[in-house]
Symmetry: C2
Subunit: 434 residues, 2 copies
């Protein structure tokens, strides 16, 4: 069944995560600094020291649309690989948006509505959402929409609908924000990024009376909401995993699955190893710095201590748009520094190869983001074939790839790029850290 609480890992950690800082004073930001952007209940969750946060009944009533999500043993994939490993995946693709994003979009909408933003107004342009595939209000013609890839001009988006919903919603010509204009002035062919999208969303939220900003990943309260994934998996699994694997962009998918298992590990009840997989084109944990940086490209947010490639870094346009973020969840970054999980990278073509392999054996076409976790899962299962080890692997299948068939098409036609990321691009962006 659906858990009745979200799990907050912070009080179980051996050390607290470093606080966000005001970019001017470099002192910790307080609730008042965040109030223009978020409702108080979410600000409270952001800094909460409680291990469990009750899920409101109204949110549970919506979760019931797609939760609990299935936990599936990948029997056919195991057989195809000839591995003694036992592979389980937690599938979030049956949600209305086809991904794990509604797990946090729904409570964010709920708290915003309860505190008066976005509700009780005829003008619905009150909460501005951004992220991979979910927005907090329905599309209406004539209402300017922000686009999750940033740079909200339809002509700036890739010809293939790798961004799915987002491209659809950007069909009508939209005003480019001040931040967007500046970026386009510097690079008219900018492929956009999550960092740019955050700048544009924060700018619009700030310029719209009573508007709030809703984030799809990165912050503590978003990761908190996603822990329903891991709590369910913990109850569904017939055996505890030796290894938990998830992809990381802003970190909410991996954290959502891993945190409840990390709680069990920190309490000494299991010995699971955790592994984050990031794209070779955006290797935040593996090649970034652990430093205070802006959460967005234009520098509108507080400074966050996190693994970052530098806020001015714009990742190459791989199809896994949800992983194209220069930074990383500060909480996950803190856990990484504490040695609580490993991180590896995978390149675009090997990820799509894993996605096709998975689709042909398990029947589900995965989104490009979780193919990173699948590529690592398959590699681990093949290592087990060599060693004979009967490892139990749990992986996060955070969304379907029905919006990404154009990307699969390009992969199958041999047209997909494997970008290399020269060190000087990283060095350049890191030299601009605040």
């Amino acid at each position: 069944m659906i858990p009745s609480n979200w799990y907050n890992i912070v009080p179980d950690l051996p050390a607290p995560p470093p606080p966000p800082l005001h970019p001017g004073t470099r002192r910790p930001v307080g609730p008042d600094d965040l109030a223009p952007l978020f409702p108080m209940e979410l600000i409270g969750q952001e800094v909460s020291g409680e291990r469990y946060v009750p899920i409101p009944q109204e949110v549970l009533d919506v979760y019931r649309l797609w939760r609990p999500t299935p936990l599936i043993r990948a029997h056919r994939l195991e057989r195809a690989l000839g591995t003694p490993a036992r592979i389980y995946y937690k599938y979030e693709g049956g949600s209305p948006a086809g991904s794990h994003k509604p797990n946090t979009a729904v409570p964010q909408a709920y708290y915003n509505a309860r505190e008066g933003a976005a509700a009780h107004h005829r003008d619905r342009r009150r909460s501005v959402g951004v992220g991979a595939g979910v927005r907090l209000r329905p599309v209406r013609p004539g209402v300017p929409d922000l686009d999750g890839t940033g740079l909200v001009r339809p002509e700036a988006l890739p010809p293939l609908p790798h961004a799915g919903v987002r491209r659809h919603r950007a069909r009508q010509p939209l005003p480019v924000t001040g931040a967007g204009s500046k970026i386009l002035a510097g690079d008219p062919d900018s492929p956009g990024s999550l960092g740019i999208a955050i700048s544009e969303a924060v700018e619009v939220a700030g310029a719209t009376p009573d508007a709030r900003y809703a984030l799809g990943s990165v912050l503590n309260h978003v990761l908190l909401h996603q822990t329903v994934i891991g709590e369910e998996a913990l109850a569904q699994l017939p055996e505890m995993p030796d290894l938990v694997i998830g992809c990381t962009g802003g970190g909410s998918n991996f954290a959502g699955l891993a945190f409840p298992f990390l709680r069990e590990k920190l309490a000494g009840r299991i010995r699971t190893v955790f592994r984050a997989v990031e794209p070779a084109a955006c290797p935040t944990f593996t090649r970034g710095a652990y430093a205070y940086d802006f959460g967005d490209t234009a520098g509108f947010t507080p400074l966050l201590k996190m693994h970052t490639l530098g806020h001015s870094f714009v990742p190459d346009p791989i199809h896994a748009g949800g992983l194209r973020y220069h930074g990383m969840s500060p909480l996950l970054s803190h856990l990484y520094e504490l040695g609580l999980f490993e991180a590896v990278t995978r390149a675009q073509n090997e990820c799509f190869e894993a996605g096709v392999r998975f689709a042909r054996t398990e029947g589900i076409v995965p989104a490009p983001e979780p193919t990173h976790a699948l590529a690592e899962t398959i590699a681990e299962a093949l290592r087990c074939r060599e060693s004979g080890e009967e490892k139990v692997i749990l992986t996060a299948l955070c969304g379907h790839g029905h919006f990404d068939l154009g990307a699969y098409d390009r992969y199958l036609a041999g047209e997909l790029e494997d970008y290399t990321l020269p060190q000087d691009r990283i060095d350049q962006a890191l030299s601009e850290l605040p």
Copy 2:
């Protein structure tokens, strides 16, 4: 839980359905006539007199990927409509294909594999599937694929991906079949149809050694497999419906939901009314003849007694591609003649309006096909608002609209056509009945 049997309505009917006829002899076709196209187990199911057919364990093991599917009360839609009606929907969009089609694709693949077609061969081109969104084997570059809309030339397909998967799969230039060539010679701009797609698939299956043909709707065994939908709904509902509403193209979605409830009604245990909804552009029940006709455009199939607009009728290119079929399930047609359900039509724009209304209240973007049922459901709920009647309505939400965002885009931009269907087009096609 998942039912352990499929339900066959035939033995519960007051009269048996008329048999398929050989087009040359006009005598009933026997198993030998069908053996080149279908495995024996499916032929047996096609003519079975047993009320229940056990679902093989291997099929149940795959059904578990997405079944049981949720049965959801549309509280928010009810509130938005201000109706005293209670609306329930059975949602099949969480399946790997995003629709109800895998309910039959999986058992068809299973029986084909067990009888040697499609399995144990290095050349996988053994089972040729057609239908709305599901094919029986994975895409491989270099292997010619049939397209569910017929006329398998990528340039013949609409610019917006209303056909989703299908358009994707037709990206590589494909040979047009003999049947397709003939149709294109008569109308180079033919929009295709399910009848054309069946002709092309049967032609390819016939020309490929050991190939079999897999159908997505129309025939008895397909409807049989879909009864898992209704059996689950029957067990999940807290109250029996006064009205069951489903869209009909070939009929499998409506039959899958309705048949188990019809069993209860035929046994005198409930008094439910059943209503099929078809597109105004393809009004088979409401404006077609009940006559023997070919199941496909080119005349390759046996003659089926069914409601038909004439096998030469090509529906206008509405976005609900799964409803663009000139004929109708012979079994459902028989039930319609027995007076067991009603049929109505809905036009394209009112269906998309219902789809948007549903998405804005229930959070799920529906496929264009089930928006026909939603338009009728909403109209009925508004009638209840007038009358004060607390009617219990159950509707089939057979798939998500993630492949159809382009169509929604066109609707929201006011660009969507509402075709009118002149009577002389129907008269012309019906004059060519065999």
